[in-house]
């Protein structure tokens, strides 16, 4: 029962919600820093929630390449498929 990228994206949006204090609408192209006004600490916390939600390890080392919510969804999909 592999999840589609859209399902993963929706799940990630739910995890981001508590950090999205201004309820800014989230798309796959939303940039964490600019569009969602989140700093690197927030993004690290979100990453940690994602790890626990999907039961995967997402190394902090990947963060510099993860700028949008869509990129997060893609990396989760990739890591799930590698299991």
């Amino acid at each position: 029962m592999t999840q589609t990228i859209d399902e993963i994206f929706e799940q990630i949006c739910t995890l981001i919600a508590p950090f999205n204090k201004k309820n800014i609408p989230i798309t796959k192209d939303s940039l964490f820093s600019v569009d969602l006004e989140l700093d690197s600490l927030n993004v690290m916390d979100i990453l940690s929630e994602i790890e626990d939600e999907f039961d995967i390890t997402v190394p902090l080392n990947m963060l510099p390449d993860l700028e949008t919510v869509g990129q997060f969804a893609e990396i989760v999909k990739q890591l799930l498929s590698e299991q």
């Binding site: 700093d39 916390d45 940690s48 626990d52 390890t57 902090l60």
Partner: protein, 409 residues
């Protein structure tokens, strides 16, 4: 597009430029004269130093100063060499022997700062196929050690044993053979909370991970002979590496790592922050050696913690929103608005008390803190003076509803 390397700093520069100018600016203040471990002349006024990390008051200890002076006069002002080339004197070895004795370990390596000790140990030990697992609230030197190394970095929720367990379980599931280094701190410096080392070490060992504990803020402060939180919590035999600093309780500068690992000395050959920087000057080495001997045999810990409880209790009874509980030498109040925190700092320095203004991202949970780190060298009168000024300024800025009664009783 721009060619300006500095453009990325514009947002932080703008924030900085909006700070109060002159003597109320927390980041430009300097000390005209230092009178003792707890007092200095600032803006022409005698001021109590309330946030120095000078836990034992060692900076003006007569025996330490004598030792430093003698080393200065006999060995000179600096080594002009790295530990590997020209920079190891007998006194560096003696300092390492003193550390081994202090911790009762087989090995000790001295670095030029605690920052470099973390950088070197973490970046070197954990290689490309290994994992480093760190607490979310780790000190910058730990994060930077991770960034400098090639290991996979995973972060667990602050002091959360279950979360650590989950992260380790996942790593092991995918990679049964991987080397894992779990990095913890004895005391987290912003809010003074201890790591629950018993649980965290039990879990780490269940996954065959190595454990490093940074005791920067706990050496001298906790444990029967001042070795830190690992000693206090009775788990020293579970810890593979202890990192620490001479820049707080020891009253000078320098860092170290101690261990019983039989291959530990290999690090001297491969650890770049150990090799490619100059070694500590002889005077620093001499005062650190003396201070370690004094700390092991002193009972300044009791005085320090009672000082901290006095300030913590007073602030809490006054009605401040407390970040700390008094179980460590840190006393911090939480201030909701950053501008109020900055104003608080400015009022305190005017009243003759120099506290730390600690702001995000250096603080956990994005808190704005007015943070004191107590010293065994603070007198009761100094503590009560700090408390009086905290209450005065807190009342003035509307952080305290009623003028509290009885707080100084």
């Amino acid at each position: 597009m721009t060619f300006d390397l500095f453009e990325k700093f514009d947002p932080i520069l703008n924030d900085y430029n909006s700070l109060p100018k002159g003597s109320a600016n927390p980041f430009t203040v300097s000390m005209e004269q230092v009178l003792s471990p707890t007092t200095a002349i600032i803006n022409g006024r005698e001021t109590i130093l309330a946030g120095t990390n000078n836990y034992m008051g060692m900076t003006f200890n007569q025996e330490c100063m004598d030792a430093a002076q003698e080393a200065l006069l006999t060995l000179g002002t600096g080594t002009t060499g790295s530990r590997m080339l020209n920079g190891t004197y007998n006194s560096h070895k003696k300092l390492e022997d003193t550390l081994k004795e202090f911790y009762n370990t087989r090995h000790a390596i001295v670095f030029s700062t605690g920052y470099q000790a973390n950088l070197g140990i973490i970046a070197t030990l954990a290689g490309p196929k290994d994992y480093v697992v760190i607490d979310a609230d780790s000190h910058a030197s730990i994060y930077d050690g991770c960034a400098m190394g090639n290991a996979t970095v995973v972060r667990f929720k602050h002091n959360d044993a279950d979360n650590l367990d989950k992260k380790l379980a996942r790593i092991r599931k995918n990679d049964p053979q991987a080397g894992i280094l779990v990095v913890l701190e004895g005391v987290y410096s912003m809010l003074g909370d201890q790591a629950p080392l018993k649980e965290l070490t039990r879990i780490s060992k269940a996954y065959n991970a190595f454990i490093l504990v940074d005791e920067a803020h706990s050496i001298g402060v906790f444990g029967e002979t001042g070795r830190g939180v690992a000693q206090e919590q009775g788990v020293e035999d579970q810890i593979d590496f202890i990192v620490g600093t001479f820049s707080k309780s020891v009253g000078t500068i320098g860092g170290y790592c101690v261990s019983n690992n039989p291959k530990f000395e290999a690090l001297r050959l491969v650890c770049r922050p150990y090799i490619f920087t100059a070694s500590l000057p002889p005077s620093v080495v001499a005062s650190a050696t003396k201070a370690l001997e004094l700390i092991a045999n002193s009972n300044l810990r009791a005085k320090l913690l009672s000082n901290s409880r006095r300030l913590n209790n007073g602030l809490s009874q006054a009605g401040f929103d407390m970040g700390t509980t008094g179980e460590s030498p840190i006393a911090a109040i939480i201030i909701a608005e950053q501008n109020t925190a900055i104003a608080f700092w400015g009022e305190m320095i005017k009243e003759g008390v120099y506290v730390n203004l600690a702001l995000p991202p250096a603080t956990p949970k994005k808190l704005n803190l007015m943070r004191c780190s107590l010293s065994a060298a603070h007198s009761l009168e100094q503590i009560d003076f700090m408390l009086e000024k905290f209450i005065l300024v807190g009342t003035k800025l509307g952080l305290l509803q009623d003028i509290p009664k009885r707080v100084l009783a």
